[in-house]
């Protein structure tokens, strides 16, 4: 409105938008790194137990499983959709594995059952959103109840505990010294998703769909298919997380991973992914996951009640979302 049409100076051509956007992204990650260093330093100074290899290794379990799903969730959110059924998929996949274990399946078969259940759930979500055009938030709230409901019907107040000993490796095993299998898997998945989002045409299509689905469609991107693939990915990563979590707990109950969907979305948003779609990076999500894990662990070491942790994470979230809003209006208006 307050256009610069009357001013004599030459205007910037909008191609600067791209670099400014990129710069802001970079600064977001810089901010997260600063927070991470602060959290690490404060933890190290305030608890004598923090700087211990085994304790830090234990702390990684606070975020590895959730982060695996957060990578796929980040891509889905960038594409303008969301999957709130991820924790319920964990429950269903874990229940399926538990049932398979009672039938005498071996460890490789159990892993396959978990991953396939995750994929199937993801495909179902994808079908609802991409094929039948349901809003993803509504569709996945529905499937959230559906998937966990099936677990509850199958298990009731019982639990599956008959997992083979070798299965425990996925949640309790160590690859080398204090480096757990889960931590390695976390790193590998982070790398894979980074390549997928930032180095492939599929990744570019995800941004395009999130920024403007109609324009994406007219430029030849098969929008429905991209969305379907993304739901498959959240389903698959939920299946992977289900394998790890089930192996770590050594048991399945229908309440497994209850409430994780919100923590995962928090991780994604804290990582700098725009909740309205269109922007975000895997690097940010990795940093956010580690920050959340270390904050939880640090507060745990100081025996600060969990409620304070929730308040802190909430404040962190508001602050991280609020800071760019506080900064950018000025830079946008004053030219």
């Amino acid at each position: 409105m307050s256009d610069a049409s009357s001013t004599p100076q030459p205007r910037h051509i909008p191609d600067t938008l791209g670099t400014r956007w990129g710069r802001r992204l970079r600064s977001w990650e810089t901010l997260l790194i600063a927070v991470l260093i602060a959290v690490f330093t404060i933890n190290a100074l305030s608890s004598p137990y923090f700087l211990n290899a085994w304790n830090l290794s234990d702390a990684t379990f606070n975020f590895t499983e959730k982060a695996m799903i957060a990578f796929a969730m980040a891509m889905l959110v960038i594409a303008g959709e969301i999957d709130l059924s991820v924790a319920a998929i964990i429950a269903l996949a874990s229940t399926a594995m538990g049932h398979a274990a009672t039938l005498g399946f071996g460890t490789p078969a159990l892993v396959a059952v978990g991953l396939l259940t995750g994929l199937a759930c993801g495909a179902f979500n994808g079908l609802l959103v991409a094929r039948f055009n349901l809003p993803s938030i509504v569709a996945t709230i529905g499937t959230m109840s559906l998937f966990r409901g099936i677990s509850f019907i199958v298990l009731g107040d019982k639990a599956y505990t008959e997992y083979p000993d070798s299965f425990a490796f996925f949640g309790q095993g160590y690859v080398w010294w204090v480096i757990s299998f889960e931590l390695v898997l976390f790193a590998v998945l982070a790398l894979l998703f980074w390549v997928l989002l930032h180095r492939t045409s599929f990744g570019r299509a995800v941004y395009a769909v999130g920024n403007n689905p109609t324009a994406a469609l007219f430029s030849g991107i098969r929008v429905a298919r991209v969305k379907f693939m993304l739901f498959l990915l959240t389903g698959l990563t939920s299946g992977i997380a289900a394998v790890c979590l089930t192996a770590r707990l050594g048991s399945t109950r229908p309440s497994i991973a209850f409430g994780w969907e919100l923590e995962i979305v928090t991780m994604v948003v804290l990582g700098g992914v725009n909740i309205l779609g269109g922007s975000g990076s895997i690097g940010g999500v990795v940093l956010a996951a580690i920050i959340m894990g270390l904050v939880t662990f640090g507060f745990g070491l100081m025996n600060v009640p969990g409620i304070v942790m929730s308040i802190f994470i909430g404040l962190l979230l508001i602050a991280v979302i609020g800071i760019p809003r506080l900064v950018s209006p000025q830079s946008r208006r004053v030219e």
């Binding site: 639990a159 979590l245 497994i256 409430g259 600060v304 404040l315």
Partner: protein, 330 residues
Amino acid sequence: MGLMKKLMLGAAAVSLMMTGAAQAENKRIALVVKALGIGFFEAAAKGAEEAAKELGDVEIIYTGPTDTTAEGQIEVINALIAQNVDAIAVSANDRDALVPALKKAMERGITVISWDSGVAPEGRMMHLNPSSNPLIGNMIIKLAADNMPEGGEVAVLSASATATNQNTWIEEMNKVLPNYKGITVVSTVYGDDKADKSYTEAQGLMKAHPNLKAIIAPTSVGIVAAAQAVTDAGMVGKINVTGLGLPSEMAGHIKSGASKSFAIWNPIDLGYAATMIAYNLETGKAEAKPDAEIGMGRMGNVKLDANNEGAMADPFVYDASNIDAFKDIF
């Protein structure tokens, strides 16, 4: 950025103040509860502090997750292992899922017991039940019988027909029923632990059995609904509602006389006893093995069964004389 740092520092300062009093020589016993902010567990923490004061060289770490999840409890337990606490006494959100984490704690030399809500045997040294099924079964019929000197008809309003706890207690009650002369159980109905259904079922009981003298509800939802139904039907004084309930929810009905007395375990005693046991095991004053007796201070001794489980005491009876002291606790 500046804001972030301020936030971080502020949070750190607060937490430093909270833990500043930590001392190295004391035995650090962690009381891990299902979730913080639940009156029952806050009361248990009071009992634990009482035990710590009595013992002298004990520091209580009262902690737990924000909501009642196994995953949250595991995070808490990992943090306690990292701090190398001396003992962990946990009321578990999940019997099985905590086992790997607690096993790790025991491998690192930490004394682990469960109380209230148990952990599978391989994940703890012993489990302290607040009471035992036979003691509860006997208590609920005794409470009804105490107010019916000349005998008469009683009915049971339970939770769901598949509720394991309730069914066991009713079974135990029926076993000791012959000890209470003149008392007959005329019906057992199920309110599914829903307030409205329990209320309707209680109304049905009163209609079907005009001579009914007591309703026994071994569930905290059912007992309140039944007391309300009796009050609304104007039967206060004719029908006594009893069973297992929470003092905060039952205080009004005790005052109105719809319920003369009811029972539930005393969380203060439970926290106290769990702390005493953890201390005695940690200091080698007792050993957790079948048939062992472990001291619980003023609560006497607990005797362990083949699964290393033991019962603390009879359920604690609440009536007009003590309800005011407990109604604000849980």
